[in-house]
Point group: C2
Chain length 266, copies 2
């Protein structure tokens, strides 16, 4: 709340994942991470108390398109194997705290909120394959305009797990109609970061009435020669935290991802 | 303990999964399931109390080669989505009960043991791709000789998860050296039932000193023109139950799998 998403702290392409995390930790970077440290796996962050961890992991197992699990940390642990030396409590540009299904806070870090029973889940993010799309000659408007990607709640129900249920969230990228098939082919190579799109072309089929009003992130224009293409999104757990009225669920702020040291496969 | 593995109740190839499950339920079939109902997904069964469910699912997530998750049931539930009308408590040919890491019983069914807090996991079994190997012209000795497959504990430690740790278990099939590459290619198509082998040729590299003495199942001969080929095995959780001294872990008896209604992809 109140941060400028469009403030490149330094020349973005030059940042390594570790440099970006250090900038976040010192409070120097609060922007979205699309286009930052291209070629490295970016992840959504979901943190739940230990007594919700089984149901959340089961939710991921049953909903692998929105929730591909990259890593799960032991209770209380803060340093993923995929980013040695990192600290999940302060190495992201922004966080959200949901209590009883209500967004109650957007803190800069989690240092004061941390509890030893918290279990952290890293879930693949579609920002990870954007470098592949760009290398394939597919232009991405939100990257070019330094915006956050547009995300929407859909009318598609996820498969429930225990007490957890809620609607699928999608990210949307306008793609030239001549490039749609190739965008599908390229993203399909990366199932661990959402893989192929779940829908092409008709937002109303997903229950999205107005693309100009995303539920998370920033709207972008769609030109006449383009189609809106929708990928399953790792913000889905945030819609689930709300729908299921989880007592406590801590996440990244949408679009402000954790960037790991794992290179994307080529 | 004491069952004859080699008692084909009926013409095996003719059995549907539902027919096999009905024979198990009535007590008419207590044999191994290799070669039975070919072309359908067979699974290992692991049942743990609710308060071990997160760690066991996390163990599977961290060890996908031995523990590819096909389905996880809600606590207390007994009928998987992949086999409508079935009952996991009595539709397998045999069960094992581990308490505090000790094999204490091999019951015919779990009806008297059942508790509402038990969570059932179905884990892919390599028997599922054997029909594909046979269709590819690769002969399987344990199927031809109506034996259980040979399984061995290795010196490879699985990735721990919480309180759970233990050695990888493998199944072994003698394969003609001219067929090894094709056996790898065919099984690699099916990652959800262990996929490609983890090792070819040198049992000592896995800490196996004598192939004639399997830890589970039946030994088979290896001929001069053959190599022993090792696949990750869903009996691994049984070695983990022992190593980790789990208070309670209920499983299928090795080789006596749950047969689902899911057809293998071609």
């Amino acid at each position: 709340m109140g941060y400028d998403l469009h403030e490149p702290a330094v020349s973005q392409g030059a940042l390594s994942p570790g440099q970006l995390r250090a900038l976040c930790r010192s409070g120097s970077y609060r922007g979205a991470t699309a286009g930052i440290a291209p070629g490295f796996v970016q992840t959504n962050l979901v943190i739940v108390p230990r007594d919700w961890a089984f149901e959340f992991l089961l939710f991921c197992q049953r909903n692998p398109k929105p929730c591909p699990v990259i890593e799960v940390l032991e209770p209380g642990q803060i340093t993923p194997r995929t980013a040695p030396g990192s600290d999940l409590r302060c190495d992201l540009p922004g966080y959200r705290v949901y209590r009883q299904g209500v967004l109650t806070d957007e803190p800069d870090n989690l240092v004061n909120l941390w509890q030893d029973d918290l279990v952290s889940f890293l879930i693949g993010c579609s920002f990870s394959f954007e470098a592949g799309l760009i290398a394939g000659g597919i232009s991405l408007r939100h990257v070019n305009e330094r915006k956050n990607v547009a995300m929407y709640r859909t009318n598609i129900a996820c498969v429930p797990a225990g007490r957890l249920y809620g609607p699928l969230v999608v990210s949307m990228r306008p793609i030239k109609s001549t490039d749609v098939a190739r965008a599908v082919e390229i993203s399909a190579r990366y199932p661990e970061v959402h893989g192929a799109p779940i829908h092409v072309g008709h937002p109303r089929a997903l229950g999205i009435s107005d693309l100009k009003l995303p539920d998370y992130g920033d709207a972008v224009d769609i030109r006449d020669d383009e189609l809106p293409v929708f990928w399953a999104c790792g913000v889905t757990p945030q819609s689930v935290a709300v729908a299921s009225q989880m007592p406590l669920c801590i996440t990244h702020a949408p679009g402000k991802m954790f960037v790991t040291d794992e290179a994307m496969p080529r």
